[in-house]
Amino acid sequence: MPKKGLTVWFTGLSAAGKTTIALAVEKILQERGIKVERLDGDTVRQSLTKDLGFSKEDRDKNISRVSFVAKLLTRNNVIVLASFISPYKEERSKAKETIGSFIEVYVHATVEECTKRDPKGLYKKAIAGEIPHFTGVSDPYEEPEHADLVCHTVTESEEESVQKVIQFLEDNNYIEKAGEEVYSDEEREKVQKRLEDLGYL
């Protein structure tokens, strides 16, 4: 059980590693029995915001609908992992404002590196002029200045980035530390007996 809901907002270029990190964080949280939901740019655009394109206006609409959903989930004590390129500062701060319990994770990789990775061949197409409004190529990406966390996916391993996020959630009391059993079995029995003797159980 998460102690309180939170939206972890992963922002960064396409192919920077947002979804990869979010998927791995999701798995860890699920294993710990924590309510978690993922909202991902690619999947959301096939459903919730199918009607929208990539103009600034449509990007804003995309983010505001997603924020609305994230807000509802967060309010119900779910940890939401939202991975969206979300290139504009303004849209990110609007999302934060809407959702409330919100942290920003900047998943950082250079355009060069992302172009090299290019798992979906999008950068290639964008550079060839086949995709208009492509962040990092034909559209700007405004870097976060005060991200709560930065994952440098060029220099860090995936595991390191994921650990950073989990650590942050633990340190800030959003989730309990794993394996942090306070009592040994013997101690638990002792405490339980004491509470029973006091008539407290």
């Binding site: 102690k3 306070v182 007996k193 004491r194 003797d197 006091l198 008539g199």
Partner: protein, 439 residues
């Protein structure tokens, strides 16, 4: 006071002594009959002495969590000495790590105040503070009892005892009484040791032992005579004497606060509400000899945890949930109706004063984790959570129980415009007194 003392403005300091479960009405009597002349002197020489309310449910862990956070249980997340995780369904003992709001000492630490906190309930495992924190009785291993950890060595050197052994009360009341005195005197001794040694702006020591005394000896106290009655009274003579010694150590302009978290009264009978739920068909078990609510059958509609916290076995919320969300409200209303009319089979008396829906009394962030209904009996009837009882009501071994309306607060200063209705107001009072109320 030297020259320098008068030139520099003194830093505000406050020392708090918690006397667990000591009723306001009881202290009035002890001041009158001469048992507590020092307290009488304190109260008579100005300052502030009042009755205050506790919390619902009226349990020490909940009350002190409210004291240390300024929030009710729906805001701090500590609902009792036992709680349940709904899915997967599991019972657990809430500890400091389950506290979901910032504590007074965490807040003061952030404001650069140095704190010393000793033996307050729900402070185990000890969290980091700017200063020293010695955990309360949920700690079983003195080596793990303190922040910073090395303080544990000092505690061992001083032969500190975290808590009296309540089992002893069933073996020998004489021995238990002796132990209570020993633990109490050790508590004050260790407190004084740290008082002299520590630098602090906020100092708090908790006396749990008054609660233990009252649970096991209230009946003897109320009988008005006899060995244990006299020992009960003598316990408060010792406390009065220790308070006098302690206050002599304090600086003249330090604030002294003494308070309790609830009152006490005679526990005439224990009421086993799970037995009632079972008799009425709301609660079912798969095996004939259930140990606790974890053994509940999925057909159950409601179950209860001590004291009087009734949960609906709601589908999609509880692991074994079977009550459809559309039936939730109707079931709550039905239970309220019926519970209010429960009668003591022996006397025919109706003894439930009130049944609240959680949203009627709580408004915190974590209200979804609170019990769906809160059952309030009249004073004297102690609602228990046992699942293996054959009777609905029965006289129990433990003769004292908590009351809501009879906690007390003493302050060696006037309160001014500040109003204290319940223990919840103490958080604001303290940060006001320390002048760190700008959040």
């Amino acid at each position: 006071m030297g020259l320098f003392g008068s030139i520099f403005k003194k830093k505000k300091r406050i020392a708090v002594i918690g006397l667990d479960g000591v009723p306001h009405s009881f202290l009035l009597k002890r001041m009158k009959d001469g048992t507590m002349p020092f307290l009488k002197k304190l109260v008579d020489s100005g300052g502030h002495f009042q009755r205050m309310n506790s919390v619902i449910p009226t349990i020490s862990s909940v009350a002190w969590s409210t004291f240390m956070t300024g929030k009710d249980c729906s805001g701090h997340g500590i609902f009792g000495f036992i709680d349940r995780h709904e899915d997967p369904f599991k019972m657990y003992i809430p500890l400091a790590k389950n506290m979901r709001a910032e504590t007074l000492w965490e807040y003061l630490s952030k404001k650069d105040k140095r704190v010393f906190v000793m033996n307050v309930p729900v402070t185990y495992p000890p969290k980091k503070v700017n200063g020293t924190l010695i955990a309360g009785f949920l700690c079983t291993d003195i080596n793990k009892s303190a922040y910073p950890a090395k303080v544990a060595e000092e505690l061992k050197d001083l032969d500190y005892i975290i808590d009296a052994d309540a089992w002893l009360a069933r073996e020998s009341k004489d021995k238990f009484m002796d132990q209570l005195f020993k633990v109490l005197e050790k508590r004050f001794e260790v407190m004084t040791h740290f008082y002299k040694k520590e630098k602090w702006d906020f100092f708090q020591c908790h006396i749990m032992d008054t609660d233990r005394l009252s649970h096991f000896f209230w009946k003897e106290y109320e009988s008005g005579s006899g060995k244990f009655h006299d020992e009960f009274i003598r316990f408060f003579k010792v406390i009065d004497n220790e308070l006098e010694k302690f206050s002599k150590l304090m600086r003249k302009d330090d604030t002294l606060m003494i308070l309790s978290d609830h009152g006490f009264c005679l526990a005439e009978k224990e009421f086993y509400i799970n037995k009632w739920l079972q008799d009425e068909g709301y609660l079912k078990f798969d095996n004939a000899d259930p140990k606790n609510i974890e053994d509940m059958s999925p057909d159950s509609k409601a179950y209860s945890l001590i004291p009087g916290r009734v949960f609906i076995n709601l589908k999609d919320r509880e692991e074994k949930g079977s009550v459809a969300p559309s039936d939730y409200e109707g079931l709550r209303d039905e239970l309220i109706q019926k519970i209010k009319k429960i009668k003591d089979p022996e006397t025919g008396e109706e003894f439930i004063k009130n049944v609240f829906k959680r949203e009627e009394i709580y408004d915190g962030e974590f209200i979804d984790d609170v019990a769906d209904l809160i059952v309030i009996p009249r004073d004297g009837i102690d609602v228990k959570g046992n699942v293996n009882k054959s009777k609905l009501l029965e006289e129990g071994f433990i003769s004292g129980m908590h009351t809501y309306h009879d906690a007390f607060l003493y302050l060696n200063k006037e309160l001014g415009d500040f109003k204290v209705d319940s223990i919840r107001d103490c958080f604001d009072l303290i940060i006001n007194l320390l002048e760190v109320n700008e959040k």
